[in-house]
Symmetry: D2
Subunit: 319 residues, 4 copies
């Protein structure tokens, strides 16, 4: 009987709980003994792990966040703590690890593997969808649907009151959430870090639209652009001449009942990760691209910044 | 055949559209001709009104905001514009007005009535629920349910990540939204303008709870308290010793599909308002209190600041 | 130190979990020791009870259903089992009981009290809202909002496809859910057990509306009317001449994240129930009417069938 | 200037409105004049078409159903009516058609093209996801998320009350909705038309689970299986020995605010369809498979029954 453990590292996302549920079920189905590691790499260091059973994952499939906690770990950057982690895993007979997180988390595992030989498979999980080499990261679909509901709500009030709204989404350096939200909400403006912009370009068009009867504007901006959202809002007031408000969606984007799509991907990603480890994979990340699921090396995934799909970017150029 | 008009003034709320729908239907049922005034008092001044029919209100019952627009009007504060408003109403034979809005809007109508003799009935409508003399204002229930969803989502991520969240609700000087959200979300801290507080009081208790295993805190604070939300967040970090984030819910609180309760109250309030005007009421606000629906004078409604239900306030004192 | 227990009897509703949470917190605040009884009266008989603590109610405030289970109990109708229940309560030193349920559940408690002297307070809890003496029962608001979402969804498809939809709500002999859903969804027809109807009355009107361009009808019918929903649907097809479908909402009405209103009422009802028992109430039901909260006797609550608010009923007569 | 028209045929789905919005915008961007055809092929025959503008698609992106109506058309099966359709299109100078619908709708267009030379591109749109040659049809993701919410709600009540629930999803002969809902809800049983089953296989396992404490079962069954849902429910009662209820989700699956995924796919599918027609495609269906978007012939799409992804099917075999 082999032992396999799962942990969450970095920001939590909706979809981690369905992944935990399937991890337990599929491990047992494959004759493995599943373990939970609590609070990311901290749990490895503190030996905060336990064998997981069906009852641990009952009633969590519709819950946001992660039942086993997530954390960033400064200590795991130091070799002495990684050595402790290795000892803890050895003591429990765990030699396979599934890790849900972002590229920072994977880099740490890479180092750990090279030292310890503990094989692992990473599952991309971040609402920012900023991991190179995969089109999808766990949690993105739920985040997009939460943003959608918020934009729909704000549009109601914007159109009632003659106002411009500047809605700021998460995403760090990646404009994915903002771009998709723009395309799927029919907003009037979208600003993302990947595309340089000049507000002047929109001035004439927007003023013309107001003359033709437009009562409101919705601008979706990604948190990583060169200006603060409040500056965009100020531009609407002073240049376009429309009262404006900023709405920073913030952490509501991170939680909520996982969407069906994120649940299904959690299911499949866990399947692939466990199958890969059983097939002898040493260290890999299970990615999802236009070619379907494929294992990539840590190197491929973490070596460069993700670029947005050029086709999606082309949709931005409407004026 | 008598003519009756409806308008929205001040901030829009969810529930105005169901009210418009029932206004048209009930007016016609009572033998009146219903009119819409667009963009609040601005529409009175600009003669932006039209006779309303069933087809105008088709498909709006599940929409937030207001189809006829709302606005604040500086001009309506000047007698010369109010005179124009009166002329416009006379020209269309409209001598009864239903106005959805807050106490500022009602004060303006009071002056207008005294000059013009145009009878009106106010329907309290503000998510702040800060209108004296009524326990309920249109839109409050929808706003509370939107806040609920947001808090539920944030709790997922807070508990996953060992964090304190400071969630700021709307309400201006009134802590109603924050207080009810606190009671119904089981949050750990609630700060509202009506109740003076000293964070020191919570320090020992919160530290004890962390020792006993608490992983997160949710604090609901009303926008009108003496400190910025960021200061509360800073207190969690520096004094309580837990990483903390602020989430300002903002304008998402204002929109969204109206709840059943707000729809039902819209129905009843419109019924009462029209019945009141047909019974000869000169100027009143239709309020909802523990005694049921009752008409109150503008004086009663606008003369003093609303006080929160002492019973609700008593629930705050848990420590 | 006194011991107090809570149980759920009959159909579960959304709002029971928030009530359980507040029951634990408020009991402890009042110096009482709270107990959970599992699976209704069955748990009394089987001694399936346990002392409840904060951790038992963590994370349940946003969950439908009831964490402690509910059940109907045939055995509790027999004296020998009620005697066992009394012994079990005595053994644990429990002499106060809070029971969430419907009138059937309250009648059983009435008998039990007269035999055993175990004091209790009933909290009306049923989505049917069919309990005499109270305008509100726990769970009704959540059920109404779930129905609302379903009707909104069905209207989309009905209007796209030229169809009549007959939507059947729960309610047993009480038309409350159907009536309120009708008023708040703007449906074209509402049939409830309390009001006799003759479909002939609508025939001419509906045919006229189709001629004038109406593309769809929504009929809300309560499960307790004299005809099957399929017969109403058949009437639309054969008499009105419009393709028709039946949608029986069924058990989705019963679950879901409790609405803010139901959560707040759960809070208040538990407060009142515990306060009443501490004040020496022997056996009562905490009701909510136009006069606010008031304790009523079992006799008052169970002696006759609830009648719907005449004002609400008057809204039905539109033709 | 060229003219291009869009129509919906067969059952409506969520996602058609976002598609209409983008159709208008992208057509204009490409220098085409967009037309709406109302009520499917009926509108072609009755010349119920109009040039569409931005204002026609304002505020519809978050609406289920389709603003231009959908219908099945018996008349379009007769050549004389197709000839009329052709004349109507000629009179308006429309020689390109985008059609959202299922395979039945595409077959009809095939015949029409061969007679009339009107070029067209089909967009697969059906919640059943039963169109051969494409992994995705518009509306499927929204339907899955509605089903998810319903199952989550029913699970609450099932677990509270010791009950088995048999939840019937749409899908006609295709078990896709049921299968994905099963995988993403963690239900205990899934029955679909594609996989023969013998309930006996589950008997021993389910009884064992009850002995081990299981309080409820959720069974997801597709409408096309060999038995009625009531028979499955009866099996739970008589063989497994657990009270059981059936819930037929029905038409609520069809409506609702389109999910972000369906909105994004609507955007892309419309883009591809218009691009294809501008590139000279004669008659094709724009499909989405593991290889991305690709045009397929009507022959490929309608010649055989869709088979479910073998990998998905393999997930069913848990016992």
């Amino acid at each position: 009987m082999k032992n396999i453990a799962i942990l969450c590292s970095g920001g939590d996302v909706s979809g981690m709980n369905p992944a935990l549920k399937h991890f337990v079920e599929y491990s047992i189905q494959k004759g493995l003994t599943p373990y939970f590691v609590y609070n990311g790499y901290e749990g490895l260091i503190d030996d905060d792990m336990k064998e997981a059973s069906y009852s641990d994952v009952s009633g969590i499939i519709n819950r946001g966040g992660t039942k086993i906690g997530s954390a960033r770990s400064q200590r795991f950057r130091e070799k002495k703590y990684r050595d402790i982690a290795k000892q803890n895993l050895d003591a429990r007979g765990i030699d396979m690890l599934v890790a849900m997180g972002g590229d920072g988390s994977f880099k740490a595992l890479d180092i750990f593997y090279k030292e310890s030989g503990v094989r692992f498979c990473g599952i991309p999980a971040t609402i920012d969808n900023d991991i190179n080499g995969t089109d999808y990261s766990l949690g993105v679909d739920t985040a997009l649907n939460i943003i959608k509901v918020s934009i729909d709500a704000i549009r109601d009030t914007a159109s009632s009151f003659r106002r411009a709204f500047v809605i700021e989404t998460m995403g760090r350096d990646c404009g994915y959430l903002a771009l998709i939200s723009h395309l799927t909400s029919g907003s009037e403006l979208c600003l993302i870090p990947e595309v340089d912009y000049d507000l002047k370009k929109y001035e004439q068009e927007f003023k013309k639209q107001i003359k033709n009867g437009r009562r409101y504007f919705i601008a979706i901006v990604s948190e990583g652009i060169k200006q603060d959202s409040s500056e965009i809002s100020e531009w609407f007031e002073s240049v376009i001449g429309m009262e404006s408000r900023v709405s920073i969606l913030g952490h509501i984007q991170r939680g909520g009942n996982p969407s069906t799509y994120d649940r299904l991907m959690a299911y499949k990603l866990v399947n692939k990760a466990i199958d890969g480890l059983l097939d002898g994979n040493q260290m890999s990340v299970i990615c999802y691209t236009k070619s379907g699921f494929e294992f990539k090396t840590i190197e491929e995934v973490t070596s460069k910044k993700k670029e947005l799909d050029p086709e999606l970017l082309s949709y931005l150029e409407r004026f």
